[in-house]
């Protein structure tokens, strides 16, 4: 499968009254045609900023693209003009959000909104656009689509609104769909409906998906690969199987251990990650996970580890993966970080 998107060394700052927020501090990942990538990490780690950066939806100022490239279909979007981006948005790359009302206009009929999206990017008749919109509503499982076309967003229930937003995002058959916490605000039974819908989309279309979520269960269920972010950086990435079965980065391990398993013994305490993520106004010089890491070594405090390929395409940024550290670790490394085992 061909490479559709490549994000390379992306750095983004925000200028605020309190100083500069270093929100994204060197993000690297790629998305192949038709695959589904999950981006996970604690709130504030830069997931949404990364997603909006790809769509060039960050207002500048306060945002500043400091470094890096976002190559989509061979084109660096950072250098693309707003006009070019308007052609790409909604047509080649679409985005859906946690709150569907951020994409839907409350004052306009749902059908009209979806049709306009089609007409904006395609030179076809209104009749054709109408039919296409109708088909898309059907595809996302909205019953009585003819009737629904004539209704306003507030006449839709939460789950149906989510579907309408997905219909709107898919109507132009984008090559890439970015879904930022699309099910976080939904109840589990409605989340289940949306997840099944996303699986259908995976099967029926060539659309690649970037799914941002904090729910590791959702990732395990529908993603091919996972990108784990921490404090504005990618700390680990790999196939779903590798990340869940052989996580190498202490943060990934910690995340996986902190969720209770269904078959877990109740008398065993959960293993949280102690403390909280660093302040992105003045991110640490060394490994940003150092103060919370159970495995921290002296070098981690002042030196940031580089991403290393640890095999099978799994990439981990941690000193433990350094070829020298691996040998040394067994003999001399001592726990010097803030992390304490509970």
């Amino acid at each position: 499968m061909g490479k559709l998107l490549e994000v390379k060394n992306l750095r983004i700052d925000f200028k605020t009254y309190g100083g500069e927020v270093h929100a994204v501090r060197g993000v690297n990942f790629e998305v192949k045609q038709g695959e589904t990538i999950g981006i996970v990490g604690e709130s504030g780690c830069g997931k949404s900023v990364t997603a909006k950066a790809i769509m060039k939806l960050l207002a500048s100022p306060p945002a500043r693209y400091k470094e890096g490239s976002i190559t989509f279909n061979g084109k660096n979007l950072i250098e693309a003009s707003e006009r070019e981006m308007e052609r790409i948005r909604g047509n080649e790359i679409s985005m859906i959000f946690q709150d569907p009302m951020t994409s839907l206009n409350p004052t306009s009929k749902v059908g009209v909104q979806i049709m306009e999206s089609v007409l904006k990017h395609n030179q076809i008749s209104r009749k054709k656009a109408y039919n296409h919109a109708l088909e898309t509503l059907q595809l996302v499982g909205i019953p009585q689509p003819e009737k629904r076309m004539e209704q306003y967003p507030h006449e839709f229930s939460g789950g149906m609104r989510q579907r309408a937003m997905i219909a709107m995002a898919l109507v132009c058959q984008p090559k890439l769909l970015i879904a930022d916490e699309p099910t976080t605000a939904l109840d589990v039974t409605i989340q289940a409906q949306i997840l099944e819908l996303m699986k259908d989309i995976q099967k029926q279309s060539e659309t690649a998906i970037i799914l941002i979520t904090h729910d590791l269960g959702v990732v395990a269920e529908i993603c091919d690969r996972v990108v784990v972010m921490y404090a504005g950086k990618v700390v680990e990435s790999g196939t779903v199987l590798e990340i869940f079965q052989n996580p190498e980065h202490p943060y990934t391990k910690g995340l996986l251990k902190s969720v209770p398993r269904f078959d877990m013994d109740k008398s065993v305490p959960l293993s949280p990650i102690i403390g909280s993520p660093p302040d992105l106004f003045s991110p640490p010089k060394g490994c940003s996970f150092y103060p919370r890491c159970d495995y921290a070594m002296k070098i981690c405090k002042d030196h940031d580890p580089e991403p290393e390929d640890v095999g099978n395409g799994q990439i981990t940024a941690c000193w433990l993966q350094h070829s020298m550290a691996k040998v040394m670790n067994t003999h001399t490394a001592t726990n010097v970080g803030g992390g304490t085992k509970r």
């Binding site: 789950g159 109840d187 989340q191 289940a192 997840l195 395990a220 199987l241 902190s258 209770p260």
Partner: protein
Amino acid sequence: MTTDVKNVELDDDSKKKVPLVQVKNLRKYFSVGKQKLKAVDGLNFDIYEGETVGLVGESGCGKSTAGRTMIRLYEPTDGEVLFQGKNIYDHSEKKMAKIRRDIQLIFQDPYASLNPRMTVEEIIGEPLTIHGVVKGKEKKKRVEELLKLVGLSPEHINRYPHEFSGGQRQRIGIARALALHPKFIVCDEPISALDVSIQAQVVNLLKELQKEMGLTYLFIAHDLSMVKYISDRILVMYLGKMMEFSDSETLCNEPLHPYTKALLSSVPIPDPTIKRERIVLSGDVPSPINPPSGCVFRTRCPNAMEICSSAVPEWKEQKPGHFVACHLFW
């Protein structure tokens, strides 16, 4: 451990013991214009001392209303809640003020529930002042103890809520709830707004405190895997009514009610090697202003039969300690 489910289920002594909280036929309706919204419509269950009962169901099914009515933040439309054997709604205001020391609430949103203009000392110390427990230096000492108890540094006593992370704020909310040495705490989605790694911190803390202080919890949540982990027994609600109630192992491993089954199969499992057939419910939850006749779940139930639209299924003890409301069990 005193909270072990076996103590509640199998121990003959505890069966004879009076439950700490008894909920009897509890209803809470709200007026919406001229109509009645049946937020809570007939709850019957007990909570034993030292036990955690989990309360689950989709948003809007009445969990918060149930919790708030159970500690008399709301007056009920009908029914009783017995605390230590006495109906709390019968108490005079003066007597109720005393009871309030024993029953507390922890909120979902650690951002909205703390007054931004109060220091940590004022927030945690407020219940102590209101109930005239301690003053001045004594109060400060007590607040410092409470901060330590919930794993915060006593040095934080003069700080404001915005200076803390979400998990830390939830700890402040817990310290406040614990200030008066309560017996029973309604935890209303205390971890839903927190990151997974932080959720585990707060859940461990709640469990430790329960063991140390002999606390009894009603733990409201929509995350079934966390509810299963923390609860001895679980009550499943739908549209203001009880669907199923049982010890948590049985409820999760051998559910009887079609709604419980669907809820369980909806939870995504963080293990990519597990593939399963999921029960996907169609549609959304109907409005509690105009709930379906008969079984309220029938509009989404994959097993619905004719009788389900005409008769309300009875609350039945299908197996010892395992209750269910469904016509499939007759």
